[in-house]
């Protein structure tokens, strides 16, 4: 092992030790508090730093540090427009629903998003349906995130002698579990996946929501540091942004302007104007409707905490997204295009421009990003099963101790199951991530928003908004999934896009129309109930 490799490994191990120390500390807070409220919601007591970083880190997934850099490396400057809506993401995703959702959650005693729907609309089946929707959509997404986690660990550790030996000699037995596996996802990937899964499932199960939040803070700091270091080193290596832009112009002038170079897909260039409009809707508006984000909005302590959190998240995104664009525009001038797989550009750039110990910090960033997303998903899924499905189905027959045991067991089981599926994951997982995130937003955003702000909103309206939003979204994807299923298409999933707009736009519009129309034509909620929820 070279000195650089040893430094890289040491930095990485130090990061992992930090994660487990934080999990152990948060575990101590579980004792003596209401178990469910602490385990799934941190007792609604998050302070500014914890709230801001857990929100920012949960939103930034493996895609932010692996997929997004790969797109910039391939398509150039037009990715600045693709990601531009993050300039309003903190304002929209936090301020649109945050204060009212937190207030309503306390008033209704809700711990989960389906809890809010059930209590606000006085409909147990609506909460049940919400729990099922989370279970279905997030399960697929979780497998994708586990795969990303396994790939990141493999990228960081592959080539280190001990890791290669361990994977090749110790994981041969996995091949018998997944006959016919993709040869690109063999033992080195399984080693990464098992290591990743062991760490994230252990600390999340052990420490619950607070462990996820505290590790998110550390992971958020590492992500920010990693990107700023990489930006500085890349600019120095290429000789300034001017040289990088000149290089791009010499290679392909389309790299400098939107819509970017052609993709080879039917839609032509990468970022046609309707696609840019769709992404302006998709990131902030659908971000506001993700259960992983919504549950964090129910957990901050007070309104000043929320306000400071918005400013902190905004500053944090300033340090992440536009620096990523500049960094990977430079990467195209440092690493010749075509010489590496595009999704490897982040680790390859880190190892090219940074010494070993610094590369360790930079490479911990994508790992931290995936971990912070997975811990959130695990808890949202576990809470959907325990709180929204089992507790509602079994009612008071569950003792507090049984609830505690179930929470631990289900969090660990969900993680283990996702690991087993991710040993041989489907090929088109990135498409599944987009499909499930947009599906969750189409399903939840409108019913939650109407329930929070509109006293006239009724259970029928909420049912209509949820079903039509999800239905339109699914219908626009159905032909593409069918073609994929019967083998007529081997490329990525391309849904129907009326007027060039993404299904999420149509899903949200139909959801809103159905929610408003059905609320207006059905009997309004009882006046006494409305007065309790809307005293003003």
């Amino acid at each position: 092992m070279t000195l650089d490799e040893a430094c890289l490994l040491a930095t990485f191990l130090a990061y992992l030790v930090g994660v487990f120390v934080l999990a152990a500390l948060s575990r101590r807070l579980l004792e003596g508090r209401d178990f469910l409220s602490e385990y799934f919601l941190g007792s609604r007591s998050l302070g500014m730093w914890a709230f801001a970083f857990t929100f920012a880190a949960t939103s930034a997934s493996g895609g932010t540090f692996m997929g997004f850099p790969a797109l910039i490396y391939r398509y150039g400057w037009c990715l600045a427009l693709w990601i531009a809506s993050y300039m309003v993401f903190p304002i929209v995703a936090i301020l649109l629903l945050g204060k009212r959702l937190n207030q309503m959650g306390r008033l209704l005693g809700a711990l989960t998003v389906p809890d809010v729907l059930r209590e606000r609309f006085q409909s147990p089946w609506l909460g049940f349906a919400g729990g099922v929707a989370i279970l279905v959509f997030l399960s697929f997404n979780l497998v994708a995130q586990f795969k990303a986690g396994g790939l990141v660990v493999r990228t960081v550790l592959e080539g280190l002698p001990f890791y290669d030996e361990l994977c090749m000699e110790g994981l041969g037995w996995v091949a018998s579990l997944v006959p016919g596996y993709d040869p690109r996802l063999g033992p080195p990937y399984w080693g990464g996946l098992i290591l990743f899964a062991f760490m994230v499932v252990t600390y999340t199960t052990y420490g619950g929501f607070r462990a996820a939040v505290w590790t998110d803070v550390m992971q958020g700091v590492i992500m920010g540091l990693g990107i700023l270091i990489l930006l500085t080193l890349s600019l120095a290596a290429v000789g300034g942004l001017s040289t990088a832009s000149q290089q791009l112009a010499a290679e392909d002038p389309a790299l400098l302007t939107p819509p970017g170079p052609p993709t080879g897909r039917p839609e032509g260039a990468f970022l046609a104007l309707p696609t840019a409009i769709s992404f302006w809707v998709m990131w902030p508006i659908s971000g506001a409707g993700q259960p992983g984000n919504l549950v964090r909005l129910m957990a901050f302590r007070d309104v000043p905490t929320m306000k400071c959190g918005v400013i902190t998240v905004m500053l944090y995104y300033n340090c992440i997204y536009l620096p990523l664009v500049v960094t990977f525009v430079c990467a195209r001038a440092i690493i010749p295009y075509g010489s590496i797989a595009e999704d490897q550009v982040m680790p390859v750039l880190a190892r090219t421009v940074a010494p070993g110990w610094l590369a360790g910090i930079i490479l911990a960033a994508p790992f931290a990003a995936v971990m912070s997303t997975v811990d959130s998903f695990l808890l949202v899924l576990a809470s959907a099963i325990v709180r929204d499905l089992l507790q509602q189905a079994l009612g008071q027959s569950l003792s507090p101790r049984m609830v505690m045991v179930l929470s631990y067991a289900i969090t660990a089981s969900v993680g283990t199951l996702a690991t087993l599926v991710a040993l041989d994951p489907p090929q088109f997982l990135q498409d599944i991530v987009v499909f499930t995130s947009a599906g969750l937003a189409s399903c939840f955003l409108v019913p939650v928003a109407l329930g929070l702000y509109w006293p006239r909103a009724t259970a029928a309206g909420a049912w209509g908004a949820m079903l039509l939003g999800a239905g339109v979204h699914l219908a626009l994807y159905l032909p593409a999934w069918f073609q994929k299923y019967v083998g007529a298409s081997t490329g990525s999933i391309v849904p129907i896009r009326p007027l060039g707009l993404d299904p999420v736009v149509w899903g949200l519009v139909s959801s809103l129309a159905a929610g408003v129309f059905l609320s207006l034509v059905t009997r309004p909620p009882a006046a006494s109930f409305v007065r309790r929820l809307f005293p003003d």
Binding site: W77, M87, I91, R100, S242, A249, P258, A276, L322
Partner: protein, 90 residues
């Protein structure tokens, strides 16, 4: 609070109109040879005026939005009348 929610949507809409309009006008169908790089920052002009400038404005705008416009209010529910009377009696 409805007023605040509509205000948030208005910010999202106005920022979107600016970003998409300016990026379209300066970036799409543009001859890359004619690109300018304002203020020596080496960022293409469409990205500078269409993305970086509105991003900076939104960042600055966040401060007055949070501290002047979004109102503080208690998040804990008010005790119900019955509960309050019970506490008084106790």
């Amino acid at each position: 609070m409805q007023r605040e929610a509509f205000g948030v949507l208005a910010i999202w809409f106005v920022a979107g109109v600016w970003t998409l309009t300016v990026s379209f006008a300066l970036g799409y169908q543009r001859d890359p040879e004619s690109l300018a790089y304002p203020f020596g920052l080496k960022i293409p002009d469409w990205a500078f005026w269409g993305v970086f400038v509105p991003w900076a404005i939104c960042s600055l705008l966040t401060i007055p939005v949070c501290f002047r416009w979004i109102e503080d209010c208690p998040l804990e529910p008010e005790p119900s009348e019955g509960a309050a009377e019970g506490e008084k009696a106790a």
